[in-house]
């Protein structure tokens, strides 16, 4: 890629990044499925926050196929996977004292979770 010059800035910003990938990846789970997030503690980059590891949630939606940030962040390529919005109850994350109705939705990849 050449030097970013002033005349190309607008085009570059408008184009944005290509995180969404136009490849077919069979979904591992579907909306409504229960999942358990993995108990992983990689030294490298991961987008699975500590507070959401080894927790049970429900797939709220399937966002499609994206570059896997955990791979890309460690210089290991794109490894396209599906990204899901996973819904956790506040009580699942924070214990029985948490507000009964509240929830947290976290976007996670196939490699962050397994069917529960």
């Amino acid at each position: 890629m050449p030097l970013l010059t002033a005349d190309r800035v607008k085009q570059v910003l408008t184009r944005g990044d290509r995180s969404r990938m136009d490849v077919d990846v069979e979904p591992k789970v579907k909306p409504g499925d229960r999942v358990r997030t993995r108990n992983i503690h990689p030294l490298g980059h991961t987008r699975l926050p500590r507070y959401a590891r080894a927790r049970v949630g429900v797939i709220d939606r399937d966002h499609g196929v994206f570059v896997f940030a955990d791979a890309s962040g460690n210089g290991l390529g794109k490894h396209p996977q599906r990204v899901y919005s996973v819904r956790f109850t506040a009580r699942e994350l924070w214990g029985p004292e948490a507000a009964p109705r509240d929830t947290v939705h976290i976007d996670l990849w196939d490699d962050h979770l397994d069917p529960a």
Partner: protein, 245 residues
């Protein structure tokens, strides 16, 4: 009780005092062990900015920019365009227009909820950190709030660059564990039968909240409605207020 660690240069003295109390080997070789170098309180533009010596931070930035420019790796005019774009051209007025349109046009709102990126693109608001938009709507039973606990992910195309509080530890830490406490701090108190739904932007999806349209705005034009919509309401930490008569 542990002291609160200040997040911003508003409390440089406290940060310095705190760092001074850390025992052991913490020091910053780049600043020659001068802990005060990590502060930014003297980086604000003052009248005497040109006569005051540059801080370590300013020196580091200047060093990088001058070296990268000399080596032909960055073009200063391109830097200026980048800055100008996000300082003056892209901001929450974009999102306010999207929200106002959703309020007056039910078909548009459905398009927004179904495919946020495409519907927002109808306004021409496309590009970096807005490539994969998800629009979520507040209702009397669901209040949505957006955070990025891991860094600062934010929908630049519709809201511009995020405010300091959104990128700082207090919000990032508390939004997921105590959203009602956060909302209370912003002046919003919700009954227990409302679900507070927090969205942690861990991937490349970026979230825009459609706040509830306030009572008392019936018959207002789309432009006038857009003026009411605040950035904070589109993050989900505030409600939109009806105009005072």
């Amino acid at each position: 009780m542990a002291p609160d660690i200040p997040q911003r240069s508003e409390h440089p003295g406290k940060a310095g005092a705190l760092l001074d109390t850390l025992t052991g080997s913490w020091s910053d070789p780049r600043s020659g062990g001068n802990i005060d170098a990590m502060h930014t309180h003297d980086d604000h533009d003052h009248d005497d900015a040109h006569t005051a010596p540059l801080t370590e931070t300013q020196l580091r930035v200047k060093a990088l920019e001058s070296l990268l420019t000399e080596k032909g790796l960055v073009e200063p005019k391109a830097l200026d365009v980048l800055i100008d774009t996000y300082e003056t051209k892209v901001g929450p007025r974009n999102g306010a227009r999207v929200v106002a349109r959703a309020w007056v046009d039910p078909a548009y709102k459905q398009r927004l909820l179904r495919d946020g990126t495409a519907a927002i693109a109808e306004f021409g608001f496309t590009g970096r950190q807005g490539e994969n938009m998800v629009v979520i709507e507040n209702t009397p039973k669901i209040h949505n709030m957006v955070v990025c606990t891991l860094c600062s992910c934010y929908p630049w195309t519709v809201l511009g660059l995020p405010p300091v509080w959104y990128k700082s530890a207090p919000y990032r830490a508390r939004a997921v564990i105590d959203p009602r406490g956060v909302l209370h701090e912003f002046g919003v108190d919700l009954p227990e039968d409302v679900e507070v739904r927090v969205w942690d932007s861990t991937a490349e999806l970026r979230y825009l909240v459609i706040p509830e349209r306030p009572v008392g705005t019936e018959g207002m034009s789309e432009d006038k409605l857009a003026e009411l919509v605040t950035r904070d309401s589109m993050i989900g930490v505030a409600r939109v207020e009806a105009p005072r008569r």
